[in-house]
């Protein structure tokens, strides 16, 4: 909970001692920002303990990125209507922006990169697009 609050999360944070298909954490939009819910699942801690996987902080930063996309007045309108896959890419970039730990930031860049690569784009095009998106988000936030 402290980690989510440190990233600026508004709303409720809960832990569920179950294995989900979410990968460890999930953002749920409520009727107001205060009613938003960030759920952390058991596998988040398994992944955090694995040196070859995301840290708990990186996972929570990504979910906080979803809240910022959904709630930030200048971003929410632009993001509405985007595909789920596109929103995941942006959430990773916003998550990277709010991460103070550079290793977590780089891991979230990597996640956004892999998501764009899976659409069949070249590595060069992906790098260029992510840099453009980063600068756009920086200007809007």
């Amino acid at each position: 909970m402290l980690i989510a609050k440190a990233f600026g999360f508004v709303g409720n944070v809960e832990y569920r001692h179950v294995y989900s298909q979410s990968g460890g954490a999930q953002y749920g939009r409520g009727s107001t920002p205060e009613a938003d819910l960030l759920t952390v699942y058991a596998e988040a801690f398994v992944r955090d303990a694995d040196p070859e996987d995301f840290s708990l902080e990186a996972m929570i930063a990504h979910e906080c990125g979803h809240q910022i996309l959904a709630r930030h007045p200048r971003l929410a309108k632009r993001v509405a209507g985007l595909s789920e896959a596109s929103e995941e890419i942006l959430a990773s970039l916003v998550g990277a922006m709010i991460c103070s730990d550079v290793t977590d930031r780089h891991a979230l860049y990597a996640k956004a990169t892999a998501e764009l690569l899976s659409r069949g784009q070249s590595a060069e095009a992906v790098s260029r697009q992510l840099q453009e998106l980063w600068e756009l988000l920086e200007a809007l936030l």
């Binding site: 979910e63 590595a123 790098s127």
Partner: protein, 70 residues
């Protein structure tokens, strides 16, 4: 949603994509960073990716976290 893909799998996918021309992935990123900088473009995402690929499989550092309230 965070997704279930492990960071190590993501690393392999990025390395494979960057190596598709036969070039070393890190050298390719270095070349792209230099090229972007010479045009006056920003490069923090590419530099972050390069750092990510350069520092694989480090043991996880222990972070100081507040103890749970009882």
């Amino acid at each position: 949603m965070m997704g279930t893909k492990k960071l190590s799998t993501i690393r392999k996918e990025i390395e494979m994509a960057l190596a598709c021309t036969g070039e070393d992935p890190i050298q390719r990123l270095e070349r792209e960073i230099e090229s972007a900088k010479s045009k006056g473009d920003r490069t923090e995402v590419m530099e972050g990716l390069k750092r990510f690929l350069e520092s694989p499989r480090k043991p996880k550092r222990r972070k100081q976290r507040a103890p749970a309230k009882k």
